[in-house]
């Protein structure tokens, strides 16, 4: 007598495979979650850097200041300016009205930063180290400190020395753009579109200076230029 249970065996194999698949996805997700958070590795950051070195347009520009909002991780942000209000760091608050030239340095900052020509309308996030007018504040137990301005901050200069990422910038501007250290483009109230810029950024004396790499550039106005990689 021969007994066969083909269907049951097939079903249990299928069930086991499904359970293994779900557990596999869970394990990979959990591993990535823990690894990226505890090792301080920024997956997107590394991907961006490698990709940009291989395939991008080198740009250096001096333009008028746009209205821009960034939400990312930044190694360093340097701000000079003043406010009538306070700057909040962790559970402490610092008056900014005492000086017209407060000097703030944020190290390992993660969060939002929004600005226009004159003011920082939003700075809300977390930083590992904050220095206000030369007084440094370090985080305790490797925890990032919450920081924010409660009102607009009037800045004289704002600098992100490296690894600033602008997904898209579209505005009417004037100034000079130098591409790949050889092509110079002068803009006079023309529409500029920059996509996926990665590099340094500095705003000073109403000048928006960027230096780095980008994936796409469009100029629409008296001249029409479109470059993409």
């Amino acid at each position: 007598m021969v007994i066969n249970y083909p269907e049951k065996r097939h079903k249990s194999h299928k069930k086991f495979a499904l359970k293994l698949f779900i557990f596999g996805i869970f394990s990979i997700t959990l591993f990535l979650l823990i690894y990226t958070s505890f090792s301080g590795l920024s997956l997107t950051g590394n991907i961006i850097r490698e990709d940009y070195l291989n395939n991008s347009i080198l740009i250096s520009a001096d333009l008028t200041v746009p209205v821009l909002s960034l939400n990312d991780e930044f190694e360093k942000i340097i701000i000079k300016g003043y406010s009538d209000s306070f700057f909040y760091v962790g559970d402490k608050k610092f008056p900014l009205s005492n000086s017209k030239e407060n000097y703030i340095v944020l190290t390992d900052y993660e969060g939002e930063i929004s600005f226009d020509e004159k003011t920082l309308s939003k700075l809300k996030g977390k930083a590992m180290e904050v220095s206000i007018n030369g007084i440094p504040m370090m985080s305790k137990n490797n925890k990032k400190m919450k920081i924010y301005f409660d009102t607009n901050f009037n800045y004289h200069s704002l600098e992100i020395p490296e690894k600033a990422f602008i997904k898209k910038l579209n505005y009417e501007t004037s100034g000079i753009i130098i591409l790949d250290k050889k092509t110079t483009i002068n803009l006079h109230d023309e529409n500029l579109v920059i996509e996926k810029f990665y590099g340094s950024l500095k705003i000073e004396n109403k000048h928006f200076k960027i230096k780095g790499y980008l994936k796409k550039l469009d100029i629409k106005g008296t001249k029409k230029i479109s470059i993409s990689v």
């Binding site: 779900i22 557990f23 996805i25 869970f26 997700t29 959990l30 990535l32 979650l33 823990i34 990226t36 958070s37 505890f38 301080g40 920024s42 997956l43 997107t44 991780e73 993660e110 977390k126 985080s139 137990n141 490797n142 925890k143 990032k144 400190m145 919450k146």
Partner: protein, 147 residues
């Protein structure tokens, strides 16, 4: 009486979701870096897990009506099995240690034709379901004394 698979069956999946959410809360609370791509991956895992468990739950339904026991299987393609009360010879409740601890289990229904099938799987309170089915069968047989 109509029942579906117990949600207790999916406790391991809910536990996985809980672990992921717990790790995210821990990371946020400690001010550690939380990668957006990984956060999206976690969100997708949670979304698909809940969707999958709910779909799986509704793919099997068991109903005791006036004359028969009905098992409906499938979501897109349906398979409906109807078993007359008079064709059922015995009912067995099966619970392993964990099922007993959590209050769910299987009900095995045997037919006079000799066919046995673990028809009712992973339902809450299987003893109550079996008792209700037994009572219905008893009443049906009482209605037909010559059977």
């Amino acid at each position: 009486m109509k029942v579906s698979n117990s949600r207790k069956l999916y406790i391991p999946i809910y536990f996985m979701i809980l672990v992921l959410v717990g790790v995210i809360i821990f990371i946020k609370y400690n001010g550690l870096m939380l990668n957006n791509s990984i956060l999206i991956l976690v969100g997708l895992f949670i979304l698909f897990s809940i969707k999958f468990t709910e779909l799986h739950r509704f793919s099997n339904s068991y109903q005791i009506n006036e004359h028969s026991f009905v098992h409906k299987r499938g979501i897109f393609s349906k398979k409906i099995r109807n078993m007359d009360f008079l064709a059922i010879s015995s009912i067995e409740v099966e619970q392993n240690f964990w099922q007993r601890l959590l209050g769910y289990g299987d009900v095995s229904i045997r037919l006079y034709s000799g066919e046995t099938d673990n028809l009712v799987k992973h339902i809450n309170n299987p003893a109550k379901f079996a008792r209700f089915l037994r009572e219905r069968i008893y009443l049906k047989r009482k209605e037909k004394p010559n059977w």
